[in-house]
Amino acid sequence: MSDVKSFFDTPAPAHLTGIKAWLLTHDHKRLAIMYLWAVMFWFTVAIILGLLIRIELMSIGPTIMGAKLYNSAFTLHGVIMIFLFIIPAIPAIFGNFILPIQLGADDVFFPRLNLLSWYLYMLGGLLAIVSLFTGGGFPDTGWTFYVPFSVTTNHSVPLTLTAAFILGMSSMLTGLNFITTVHRMRVKEMGWMQIPLFTWSLYATGWVQLLATPVISITLLLVIFERAFGIGLFDPDKGGDPVLYQHLFWMYSHPVVYVMILPGMGIISEVIPTFSRKAIFGYKAIVWSSMGIAVAGSLVWAHHMYTSGISDTAVFIFSLLTYLVAIPTAIKVFSWVATLYKASIEMTPPLLYALIFIYLFTVGGLTGLVIGAAGTNIHVHDTQFIVAHFHFTMFGGAGFAFFAGLHFWWPKMFGVMYNIKKAYIAATLITVGFMFHYVPMFVLGMMGMPRRYFDYLPQFAQGNALAGIGGIIMVIGLLLMLYNLVMSLREKVVAPENPWGGVTLEWSVPSPPPVHNFVTAPSVKDYPYDFSEVLKKAAQS
């Protein structure tokens, strides 16, 4: 497709040149690329931090850092991974790039607001860096910023909270933009039940971002006020109730795990039918389960607080409600598996990542039931079990979905194909490392090793050493994956318009797409996952 000028060569707005064409752009695709590099930078930083934490834990006693530095290190790892990587990764990169194209639109509804979101993201990241070197150093509170410690510690909590506040705003505005785009920018022929599933999942995510994020904004503001004025809203000496902080915090932070996982599920719902050459099983069920997860996810926040001293009634009800979330999630998993059944599967790196996702996410989800039940929760609360569960869902789930998306849409975004063989090797290394890294943590947690401790008793030595080795293998795999992708930009193996045989609209435009996305007017199929034409073409050749 050399006759069409790609968006890389066409600035939007048209009068901009050079670096300005990037920094002042309104083009959703350029913004997606800018997000990609920023997110990748933070991801790499946080991976290295995580590795340092695990190396510290590989032997008893201070190994490479002391207790204080360790506290700041795991807080920084958590804050970066959550606020600067997982929350923005899929919506801001693939959402920005793919969502308008899947809807047949030429951009998002509010392009300038989109640019503002990017600047807010960068500003939040910058503040996080500044807070490393000011005040008493980066907070040592953990990413949850629980009172009373976050009010009394002398580390630079307010600055980090401001950073999180601004990052929340960026994520919220992205959600606002996507919702409006889905409502108003669809091509005329596209009804609600013809919207591709990735876009559907982003639509559901948008609502969670929009309605949950303000709760964290006000909560973080209150902590800043507490530190500045000593109001005492969470201070028992002054009549306050610290547990209410936890309520407010999890009112946001539980729904936000669905901000992290829903877009990932959307990617999997695109990848699986594409490489199964088969209509996805239960399209409507997946759509409604996305919305169902968004709703049910906002009803269950107090299951993070079983041991905080909340009432038994609350423990009972929130435990019951927590099990409800399993239903829409299971609907999705069964639909993916049913799609693969009797399909003509073509193995590719994105599909491999998607299959690993299904496995890891299922393990993460099922261990979630262990900690969702009030009784077993008390045994494993605040242990390594929680850390392992969380990473199985968020890294094994959202992270692997992100990698699947990266390998799926990379040729579309840059018009180049990466080395398939290296991609397989990287995926295998990451997965093997992942298992050796996190499975020991489940066992350690059951044995009673607490999370967030920089030292431990001798009986935990074996598990921690094993987890450290697994972590190193995993990081090698991750670096190989990133290296492979970056090298593809240099080797420039040209990717065709539709390398995978996908049927959603983004595969009908050139790779990389021109500035207004569509060369000819988009034609919408009655059903978004109709592979009959792809199969016909395959039969002819």
Binding site: P214, G232, K238, G239, G240, D241, M251, H516
Partner: protein, 198 residues
């Protein structure tokens, strides 16, 4: 590409933003509800110490300004630019009067040694400290929103004056109006919750 401007979409975006503002204050109302449940008598006592008359006057000021903002949109659509300008100007002045009232109200409380972390509150009943803590945070945050709303009104004023907003294209004024109404809306709840819990 020159497409017609989608006013419905712009309004939808603004409403979505307003939802986030509602939830922002909602977090404060969660705290209010939980603490009211914990300290009902102290809250009643605290409410007695606030001046109902100033609260009522501020309510009326905000309601009036809401009306004038709504009317300014009708005016611009009927093509009477001058009327629209004076209505927006009036609303802006209402905002200033509201803030001046608030200033004197806060000042009087400070004078009586009632402010965050003051001796009276620290040594008084805990429920009273919480009541006034919430009072300062919520009215302070609301005051900040009044200032933001006034800024939006000022921008709209300039745009109307320079004919950038006119009968065919008034989304900016409409959205500023929506924001101003939201400020009013929050106050309608703040007023009874703090001044009238007796």
């Amino acid at each position: 590409m020159n497409k017609p401007i989608d006013f419905i979409g712009i309004r939808l975006g603004m409403w979505l933003f307003l939802y986030s503002e509602i939830i922002l204050f909602g977090g404060m109302f969660v705290l209010y509800a939980a603490y009211f449940h914990a300290y009902p008598t102290d809250f009643v006592e605290g409410g007695r110490q606030l001046n109902r008359v100033i609260g009522a006057i501020n309510t009326i000021i905000l309601l009036l300004s809401s009306f004038t903002v709504a009317a300014s949109i009708t005016a611009i659509r009927l093509g009477s630019k001058k009327l629209s300008l004076s209505l927006i100007g009036f609303s802006f002045i209402c905002g200033i009067v509201f803030l001046i009232n608030k200033y004197f109200e806060w000042g009087a409380k400070f004078h009586h040694d009632i402010y965050p972390n003051s001796e009276t509150l620290i040594n008084g009943p805990p429920g009273q400290n919480i009541f006034f803590g919430l009072y300062y945070v919520i009215t302070g945050l609301h005051g900040l929103h009044v200032i933001i709303g006034m800024t939006l009104l000022a921008i709209s004023f300039v745009l109307v004056a320079s004919n950038k907003i006119h009968a065919e294209r008034f989304a900016m004024l409409e959205n500023s109006g929506l924001y101003w109404h939201l400020v009013d809306l929050i106050w309608i709840f703040v007023f009874p919750l703090f001044y009238l819990v007796l």
